[in-house]
Structures are given as structure tokens and as C-alpha cells.
Symmetry: C3
Subunit: 324 residues, 3 copies
């Protein structure tokens, strides 16, 4: 703390902690979220066929955290609708990103410098949302670290965790993957933040709240910018994850025969952007392949038909990318 | 208002506003709802295989609005079960429609004149449900028009909006369509009602509540009767919808190449009965076709495999219709 | 009651009623639940690929009742997370069953005598959970038998009733079956218990609570042990169910032509263990076959394509079993 004080960082962290998210940071969050939706396969068609479904999907991208947290704590999930200012901003953003004449808004926002700025600002809102979720849970369940972590995570990464149901609104159903089976980078960084802020709330961390806010915000912004600039998908957590995985979850007899590359690949690649959370789940065989029901059974590869459908999906994605 | 007063309509509207829905109008609602369930593909098989699943589905058709509204406002969704009188009526209706010896009840109720009367009475209950939803939301969120609209809509058209999950109870899963992607007529008319009653509650409409109730009720009853008598599926909103669509949602560059007929067809045909909400979603390419993920990408037709499965579904539907 | 008093059963029932579930009976419940998850097809793969998804699935198996009951009564579904002691026990159990070196814990617990003991203890917890659910609903809705039954059932058999969504966490989606369409034995016995305890709460049964607890507990333990020892899947309710079905639900004209064996088979086979709730639903044609949309239409067999997919699924299951 002394060091932070010396470097004038204490004032900076106080300044950050008093920053208001409304309206600029919120707008950045809405623009990035709605653009992520627009870049989902099939989203443009939906925006033509049913503007209402498209609007509802956008609202789930923008306010998914509040909705999920509301469900978890038995508070009205429609509450975000009652916040007129934010809903209006998000709706205008949705309209401009999807239906602006000449597609001006999307084309501008998709330029790298602006996109980088918006993504950075969106990462700042993450800190506020996670902290809000942790504090809200603390108000209801004083001593429960787990509830704080869960609610902070839900509030910060709700859109991702609700992905399957958001897709259902658009007529897309991909049960073979979800954010728990294959976490994307934003979901991971939010979980880490929720754990840190919950520990801080429970006084298990020798840090003050505004210092943690500064550190976490800088980490998320830098990390996101690096990933966008280098196009890298390697997670900053890959090494830690791999170590935890090897220590805790790899010592099980029936699977010793498994090639360890398989597991490693899964961990190393478990990092992606918001928009890639719809990736298929083909490494190590999909959970939905119904293989090996035996208690001490061996490992079976993914079933043929499944594999084929995944192949065709990949081909699709590839052809989509070509048409860019 | 002067005119209404002159025509003795003021007294009529007061009389209507004081009308009790229980038991006759409620019974009509239950009969029409359970008959709509029975006419769903596969529902009769389910009624043989699992009466409990069939009963639960029927209750979702009858009380879906209350369930959905409960979830949205964080009030117990089991609350309808605590209303013994209504549950008993709905259960007796369910039993008689599905299991009456000689199928007497269903055969009678399916006769056009009786069906027309029941459908008319059901439309009257819609007014009460929408109004109840708007008033309930007004009690919780004083100034939020959007919450009032959402809750009024949920209460009035909950069965339709929950359709995907109601189907799941019966072992049917059709993710490619839902009431937001392709609204049926009842869902549309309920949304319109929710908007009107919410505006009236917020004093944005120069109308008194009982006058609006009369006007809306007459509109829904007349409109439904016309549709049943003429067998027409053209929505009374088609012109307005088309105008809104063309003004707001059609000015987007990447899609200029799209044949405008496609979009128009989608709008013009977007009108259907309760029972047709299970229609497939083949116009304009399904949302689930994963086409065109490119930001400025062109339009791609639906993917082959998908198309085939839709063809076979259509063939099925056709063969079902032949067997009538 | 005199007789029970004479046989010293009154003291026994009082002793049982004062028994604490924590920690031994709770542990037995967690072990049996997590083992049931581990024996689901594909669960082991998920435990390798995503320990977090596996943990979340396990928690739904262990605390599904509390989660479902929370949703139904609009109380926070995260509440179980706030109970640190139980969550810790369940998490340790999950870790040991899935990741114990040499697979020691699972191998031991899978031995018949220990498995029998654990299953018996788990059945004891059922009584407490059902009773807790009924009492909780009684606190909220004084006079509503149905809400008491629903909440007792949800609390006691929540894991089973949430099965579709628990599977979704693991990337598995089987919409064609659920616990309402094809009830497993535990779901049935829990429903029966919920009805009995709700009647007792409403003073419709000439029994005291602790006597009913004793009778119900003995019945469930004996019945479960008998099924495990004989490997029989015939439900103790088969005769009653068949009688109710024939009396109430078989008198419907359009289906008179149906071979009565079909219906009978469905009823007689409607008994299974926890782990078999993932069975496919091929008897009598699946509900998802979209057959016979006609109001008075005839019976159609399952559609070809569907049938084929079921065949392939069966073949899969068969090959899994061979690899045991």
C-alpha cells in the first residue's frame, strides 16, 4: 500500500472507484455486446425476420447478468426493464447497429482503433458489475463466500452463462456446448474477479476495495487489448489452469490410458473471445456422444454421425469466414 | 366520451367492467385452451401414455400467463395451484376433453356455433388478464411502462410465450421457432392490448379504463369471430406492421440485394391462430441455418441438410392434414 | 395407534422423527447421487473435460430438490450454496467419487453391501425432504393441498424432475423423455409420499406425523432394498396404477382400436431406477413424432426417421454395455 501511495496510485484508484458508468461506459458495453450478437451466425437473418426477437436477444446480451442474478436471488428478472435510461440507450444502440442506413454505425465501430477503445471501456464495466453482484449477495447472505462468488460471476458474465437460452430466442439450439463445459475468456476472467472480490468482501485479502478495483480493471483492460491486438487466443490463465488440472483432476485410474495431449489441448485452447462461445466442442469427444456408460469403462471416440455433423458445421464456419 | 354517453355505451362499458370471469368465462377459456392442446400434433398419444404430463401441459395452456408473470415478477409460479376452484374447473375440463366416454365433450365443443361462442368468451377473458397484469406491474414498478407492457403481455399470452417449454413437457422440442420469432395472432393482439392498457394506466391515453376495456374486448371478439368464420389468417395488423417494418427495419445496406418479396411475405403471413404456433419457420431461411456470420456479408440460402429436414416436416404435416 | 404402542413402535417412531440427517444420512445421499451421475452415459468424459460442469451437475443431483422448490416458491435457488457444511460435504464426495486416486472410493461404494446400506440411508433422507417441502408450502399457502403436494414432490424428487436441464449442463439434450412422461420409481414413490404427508398436514389422515414418517420410511427402504437385491424393476404400484389407468383414462372412443397390450406394457414397465430415467421413450410411439394432428384422427406409428435415430441410439447403448 505504501508503494501504491508513493506512486500516486492511491488517488488514481479512488478516482476510478468514483467513476460513473452511466452513460459512456454503459454505451460502450451496449455497443460491444450488440456487435457480438450481430456477429453470431444467423443473427442478421433474425434481425430481418423478427426485429422483436432480435431486440430481445440484444437485451439478453446487454442485461443478461442482471437477469441471471435476479433469477438466482429470487428478485424480479424484469427489473432491468424498469431502468428507462439504460433500456433506452441499449435499444438505440441495438437499432443503430442493426438497422442504421448504409450500415454506418457498425462499419465505424468495427474499425480496430474504435473497437479497441470500446472493448477496453466494456472491460471497465465488468469490474463494476462483478463488484455489484458480490455486494448484493453479501447483503442477503452475510457469510457465504460461495453465494457471493456465484452472484458476482452471474452479474458479470450473465450473457455468456445464459447463452443457450439467448440462442433459443433466435431459433438456434446447441445443447452440446455451454459456458460451463467450455469456458470462454470473458467468463473465466469474470469468475476470477468474482472470487477476488468475494475474498476481499470477506476480509480474506490484504487489499482495500478500491485498490483491488484498480488492479483488476487494469488487468482486464490490458489482457483484452493484448488479445485483440495480437489476435492471440492463449489465455493468461493457461499455465495456472493446466497446473491445477494436473494436480487435482488427472489422477484417475480408468483414464490413465488417455493420451495426455488430449487433455492438455483442451486446457490450452480453452481461451476465446466473447464471440467464440458458440464454438463446437469437438476436442476430447463431445459430452453428448453418450459414449462409455461403464463405471470403469474405457474411452471411446466421438460417434460417427455426430462427427459428421460437426464437420459440416466447421465447413459452414469456414465458408462464412471466406465470405468476409 | 360524449358520443359514447349518448349511445348508452357508457353504461354498457361499466357493466362489462364489473362482469365476473368466474366461472363461465373461465370455463370457456379452459375448454378452448385444452382443445387447442388436444389439437397439437402428438398430444393425443401423450394423453394415453402419461395422463400426468398431459394434465401438466393443459395447466400450462390454461395458467401459462400466471406462471410466466410469476417468474417475471419473482412471485411463486405455483400460485395458480393454490386457487382450488379454478384448478378444479380446469382439471375437470381437461379430463372431459381428453377422456370423456364416446368423446362427447370434445365432439360437441368442436361444433362451429359452440366453438365460436367459446372462442368469443375466451377473448373476453384476455382483456381481464392483460389488465390484471398491467395493474400488478404498476403496483410494483410505478413508472415503468415497459414492465407494465411486459407483464400484461405475459399474463395475457403466457401460454404462447412458454410454448417451447410446454412442448418439452410432452417430449416435443422445436427450437427453430418460438412466439418471438414468429408471432401468432393471439400473441400480437395481446401485445397490442398490453401497450394500450399500459398507456392508459400511465395516463397517456385520453380514455377511461372501462371505455378501453369495452373497445378492446369488442375488437378482439369481432376479430376472432371474423377469422374463425372466414377461415382467414390475414391479421388485422398486417398493414400497420408492414408500414412499420418498411420504415424502420428495411434500410440496411447489406440486405438491399434481398428480394423485397421475401420480407413482405414474412410480414403478410405473420398471422395465425393459436394452434399454428408450431408452424415451421422456413420463409426467408431459418435462424438456425448459421448462414452469413460475416459483418458485411451477403445473404446465403438455408443450408441443404436443414432444408431437407424441413421438407420432411412439411411432408409430415401434409400427411397429417390428409388424414383429417 | 394402540397396536403401535403395544409393539413399542411409538417410541421407535419418535426416535426416528428426532433423527438428525446431518452428517451421516446426508453423506449417504451425496454418495448415491454422485454415483448415479457418474453412471450416466458420458459423465466420465465431462469430468475430464470440464470439472466445473461436472461439479455443477453433481450439485444439481444432490440439491436439485432445494433448487426446484426454490424456483417454485420464488425463494433464492442459490440458497443451498449458502449452507457451507452441506456444500463442502457434497463437494468432497463429488471429488472422491470422480477423481480419487486408484478410483478407490467409487470401487468400494459400488460393492453391493455398502451400496445397499447407502441406498437405504438415502431413502431415509427422502422422508425428511418430502416432509420439509410439505411443511414449507403449508407455511406459505395454508389450505392448498396441491401446493403442498407439488412442493413436497419437488423437494424430494427435484433432481429427477430437473433431469433435462441437468443433462444440458453436461451437453446432453434428450427432449423426447422426461420424468413426467415416464416416471421413474423414485419419482413415483416421492409423489406418493408428498400426497400422504400433505393429507396428514391437512388432517385428512387418521395418523400422527411421526407414525406416518416411520411407515413411509420403512416402506421406501424395504422397497428399494428389494429392488436392488432382486434386480427387479417391477414397481410396487404397478397394480394400482394399472387399475387407475383402466378406470379413468382408457374409455376414449378414437383409441378403442388401439391394441390394449400397448397401453398395458407402458404402464407395467413404468418402473425403473434413478439411473434409468434417461431411457428412450419408444413404446407406443414417441410424443415427438408429430403424428396425428387430426382432432378425431387415428393412431399413426412413429415416423421413420425418428425410429431410425432411436435405433442408432439403442445400438449405441448396446455397444456401451458390451464394453463394460
Amino acid at each position: 500500500m505504501e508503494l501504491l501511495g508513493l506512486l500516486h496510485l492511491d488517488e488514481l484508484s479512488h478516482g476510478l472507484a468514483n467513476l460513473s458508468m452511466f452513460p459512456y461506459f454503459d454505451i460502450a458495453h451496449y455497443v460491444v455486446s450488440v456487435m457480438a450478437l450481430r456477429e453470431q451466425p444467423g443473427a442478421l437473418e433474425v434481425s430481418r425476420v423478427s426485429p422483436l426477437a432480435c431486440w430481445f436477444s440484444s437485451m439478453l446480451f446487454c442485461f443478461g447478468g442482471a437477469v441471471l442474478s435476479g433469477i438466482m436471488l429470487a428478485e424480479p428478472p424484469v427489473a432491468p426493464l424498469s431502468n428507462s435510461g439504460n433500456i433506452l440507450l441499449a435499444s438505440v444502440t441495438w437499432y443503430l447497429v442493426f438497422y442504421c442506413p448504409m450500415d454506418l454505425v457498425y462499419s465505424c465501430a468495427a474499425l480496430l482503433p474504435l473497437r479497441l477503445l470500446l472493448a477496453g471501456m466494456k472491460e471497465v464495466t465488468r469490474t463494476w458489475k462483478v463488484l455489484g453482484g458480490v455486494a448484493q449477495a453479501h447483503g442477503k447472505y452475510k457469510d457465504s463466500l460461495l453465494v457471493m462468488v456465484a452472484n458476482g460471476w452471474a452479474k458479470g458474465a450473465g450473457g455468456g452463462l445464459l447463452r443457450n437460452f439467448e440462442q433459443l430466442v433466435r431459433g438456434v439450439w446447441k445443447p452440446e456446448t455451454n459456458e460451463l463445459l467450455k469456458m470462454s475468456y470473458p467468463t473465466k476472467v469474470t469468475l476470477m474477479g468474482a472470487v477476488l472480490f468475494a475474498l476481499q468482501h470477506g476480509h480474506y485479502l490484504p487489499l482495500q476495495k478500491h485498490h483491488l478495483m484498480l488492479i483488476y480493471t487494469v488487468f482486464t483492460v490490458v489482457s483484452k487489448s493484448r488479445m485483440m491486438l495480437t489476435g492471440s487466443t492463449s489465455s493468461p490463465f493457461a499455465a495456472i489452469e493446466s497446473a491445477i488440472y494436473k494436480t487435482l483432476f488427472a489422477g484417475h485410474a480408468p483414464y490413465r490410458a488417455l493420451p495426455s495431449e488430449g487433455n492438455k489441448a483442451c486446457i490450452d485452447n480453452g481461451t476465446s473471445d466473447d464471440t467464440t462461445s458458440t464454438q463446437d466442442f469437438s476436442k476430447n469427444g463431445p459430452a453428448g456422444s453418450y459414449a462409455s456408460g461403464s463405471p470403469v469403462g474405457g474411452h471411446r471416440g466421438p460417434i460417427k454421425a455426430k462427427e459428421e455433423s460437426e464437420e459440416s458445421e466447421k465447413a459452414e464456419t469456414a465458408s462464412c469466414k471466406k465470405s468476409d
